[in-house]
Symmetry: D2
Subunit: 339 residues, 4 copies
């Protein structure tokens, strides 16, 4: 931590800050310039709130230096994390992982139809929601357990890995036998109790960035999971809220190279939620792979016009097939592959 | 709902949209201009996603007309909601309600000290967290049940009403005997399962706006609670995330007059979280009351420098006393009072 | 400037940074921790881009310490700037300055009518646009020179000081005889050539914050004017762009206490542009004064329904009169006055 | 325009709105539902401010239907605009146009060195600033006319087309003999006087999106230029301001498919300003092409470490060469080419 004092700070004010820095556990190095004094705190202090220093008299600015995440930081595992599944599929390695499927599981027929064309296109994961968080209390809320059973059945039948969203702690145990990846949605990115429980699980997790979350906060949420001992964390960019209203969110493609530098965790993109309208999804999927993303989460549906939720952002089967062909070429341009 | 067709939309494209509008339950009124056709859907359709229409061929724009909230809308109760407590205190009436106290309950001594100066200043509610959501897994997480017991004890001793944050469904029953108001925090504003359960409770709720939530979304979250039969909902503006970094969030004071127009629910302001630094809190508290806010939620602490959480944004006792005097004058300017 | 090196930075990488820091003119103080090295640059370096250091190998973070503005900083004139006009009116002193008038000068009759009720309400300044920047090429663009002549005439007749917007360098000389205050609009806040020329003028300037400008950038733009020798600069908050769409912009009331701390310059608020709809303007005007603002810029019109521009955000004469009465009470609560 | 009345609007209120709609030139179609009345205005009204209707008593919502831009809209030229240069180079056609060069022209040696490797990599345009807008008054402000002369000389010597930024009206005539494309910077996107003058020029223009500008506003600014008769307008996404601070701006890659749908104008991307740090630039350049962008504007420098401006975001020659190879593969994936 660095504390920059105001130009006219008194010696008394400086000493008060120094004492408090020592109190929380810092070694303090003081640089006295002609106009300004700077205090650098080094070492490993106990937990404290760096804002406490901002309100000290005579303080101009307080700057946190060491990143607040440790386990999620690139230096913890410089070579990068590769999440490995029993069937040999990996995320974070050479292969660009594609996870596709409908927003919600709606019926046996629907999910099997989705699984077949998703697999034919080259995806290794089938996504599908059993519990749906909806902003209106009057919308379809998901099939629940019956949806999970269908997902497991189709997963076993096709060899696709199953990813589905967990919305609260009580669902973890329930979902355990049915899914291969727990998805934590954007609205739960800072549901710290849920993150802590997920940290106790020994199954891979896909953690989505909240629409108002900075990249640092995303990594700090990952830290919650990692600190519980669950190291198989995959991150996912799915759009942040900005002033632009034409798209539902603004998908922050630059988060991909940024996360690659700051962290060892794989980072995927979700263009379906990122832009919210089908006709923009392929462009953003291609951009994700071109920017170096480790994979994609996408909504597809055998019949989007009849979808019970998110139909407008779901790709038609033929769009998905065409997109996968384009993605294979782009992956090759960045030294990756999609089998 | 209004569907504006593109200038060159074909009759076939127009018919396809009309048919789907009828399918979801609209009566369709068609306006054919020289260059553009506009379709107005009226009536009470079943649940559907208006985005589904945006992806129809030939559609230029889809506009949702009727507000997606009903019970939270001003027209549901044009005279405005007044939340009434057993001891005669009201929120939403003439009185400007002040809810003050420390971020977290830390000890018996601390919470009693806080209660006494808070009451002396004119507050009718004591706030204090027992369960703390913290963005770092390494920070103080609250006293839990022991904190609730202290809150109840001090509430009974002083006559102050108790408000404390509920973070998950399992805490509702636990907190029931201890609190007079359930606070739903900004991070849980779209935790729809929690909102639904809170809707079943028969105790007042203070619902905070999420940092990335529009005013419409805040009202829609209130709708979840109201639709469960709990009509004692108070809203609270506490800052939204913007590009400005000097303050932690940007407190959207204009949300106060906007909510007053759109909804019948009381709207309070939380300047402590809104700006995040003590020396800006009084200015924003005054602005809240001047803008017509129905009350304030504020962090104060008998000894902010020693607070275990949020010390930097907590007011000193003497700052709080001075502020209350200023607020009384401002309340009078807008036809309100603080006793 | 502080450069925090990565945990595993090599001695070679550290030396490369040190050398470059010395090259640009810093004295370098090095703090070597067990895991991390921190380099503090002190002194007065020549101009350089601190981002240049971010791309050095081994660098984790670069932090600019000393504020990039000097003349605009509070420490340059700790007692605060009071802008004084020949007729004894001041901005930045005890009096809360009110500047009101129509968006555009439309006719002799209109501007005289506006001046009379504005003066009756207690305003000391009359605002009115002669040149209008409009986002559509098909809208009314202002009366130009004829508008300026009317403003001067009504100013002389009533004793009101005249403020009008300057949109480009060529207008400065033209406007000089007609206005008492040059207004620089939000879209020109970073028109540095214009700012430099305005710095050469010896007339007060009101500089509006751009809708995407941070407070730091606002102060840096003020620095451009101050560095030319024009010290009579007044700042104005008028709303920033956020994701909230109900209001045109989000008026950042917290900018008022923040600027008060960082700078010695007066800060006013413009609630008309801040919210964009008449029925929200009084609430935001009151909030501005309650938060400690030094004044208000407001749009009023003798007949808003017939205004050629911005009618929807202009107050009716009777609204303005009522508001001024409320503002007098609020000003007294914060130790200020409106005569 | 659609005006949705409030549920309880009176017949008198409805008539007042209808009359005003007719007054501004609309034909009004009225839909009276059981609870709500909707008024659709069709036809071609004179100029008016649709916000004027929002403040009418009884109005719930006012929705502008027809896009406020005409010439910039896709329907004006459905086949898309291809900007053609005398030497056969095109922008908006099959070829992905690459414009690269240093932020500022610094010396004869520097600009010739840059031109050579830029051309070798496959760029068809050389960029270089002669006049520099800088947010600090103490930074390097450009070489001016001497820089323009160098640009023309190197353009003639290499066959590269020259693009340089025009900052104010007075520079247009000065720059005319030296440049092949006028660049209008983000800060001038809403400098309507400049846009109007540029509309009179008969040379291609590259118009950058402002950091707080919506896509609609970008198209409206293009409309200013087009309405003057200059149809050779190219748009450029270069990042918008969001809450994320790790990158300087958030490059809105989704603006590319959105503009492609809404407008016939070519859209390029500027990853250098979009992210602001060299090591993220290649990823964003690839994303731009993958998303369907018509070209790239990029900062490169023969020796970025010694650049007088924007060195930290300029690519090294070898990075540029490698990137161009990757871009060729990606262009092929979307049916485009880079020769």
């Amino acid at each position: 931590m660095i504390v920059a004092m105001q130009d006219r700070a008194t010696e008394e004010e400086i000493q008060a800050v120094v004492e408090r820095m020592i109190e929380v556990g810092f070694n303090v190095h003081r640089t006295t310039g002609t106009v300004q004094t700077i205090l650098a705190g080094v070492g490993t202090p106990g937990p404290f709130d760096h804002k406490d220093f901002e309100v000290f008299s005579g303080v101009a600015e307080v700057i946190r230096i060491s990143s607040p995440y440790k386990l999620a930081g690139r230096s913890f595992r410089p070579e990068g994390t590769i999440v490995r599944f029993p069937n040999g599929v990996t995320v974070g390695g050479n292969e660009v992982a594609v996870m596709a499927g409908p927003c919600s599981v709606e019926s046996r027929e629907q999910i099997f139809a989705a699984a077949h064309f998703v697999k034919a296109g080259g995806a290794k994961f089938l996504r599908g929601g059993a519990f749906k968080p909806r902003s209106s209390p009057y919308s379809f809320q998901g099939m629940g357990l019956a949806g999970l059973e269908l997902l497991r059945e189709v997963g076993d039948a096709t060899g696709l890995l199953i990813i589905s969203e967990v919305m609260e702690i009580s669902q973890i145990e329930l979902m355990m036998p049915y899914v291969d990846v727990f998805q934590v949605g954007a609205r739960n990115m800072q549901n710290f109790n849920l993150l802590r429980e997920i940290g106790q699980v020994r199954k891979p997790v896909l953690l989505k960035r909240g629409i108002a979350a900075t990249i640092e906060e995303l990594l700090l949420s990952a830290e919650y999971i990692l600190s519980g001992g669950n190291y198989d964390v995959m991150l996912c960019e799915r759009g942040i809220r900005t002033f632009e209203t034409y798209t539902r969110n603004t998908m922050d493609i630059s988060a991909i190279p940024v996360v690659k530098k700051l962290s060892h965790l794989p980072i995927l993109g979700d263009p379906s939620h990122g832009v919210g309208l089908r006709d923009k999804v392929p462009a953003m999927a291609r951009a994700t792979v071109a920017a170096g993303g480790d994979g994609l989460l996408m909504e597809v549906h055998p019949n989007p016009d009849k979808a019970l939720s998110d139909g407008a952002q779901s790709l038609f089967p033929e769009q998905f097939a065409k997109l996968m062909d384009e993605l294979r070429v782009i992956a090759s341009a960045v030294g990756r592959s999609i089998r």
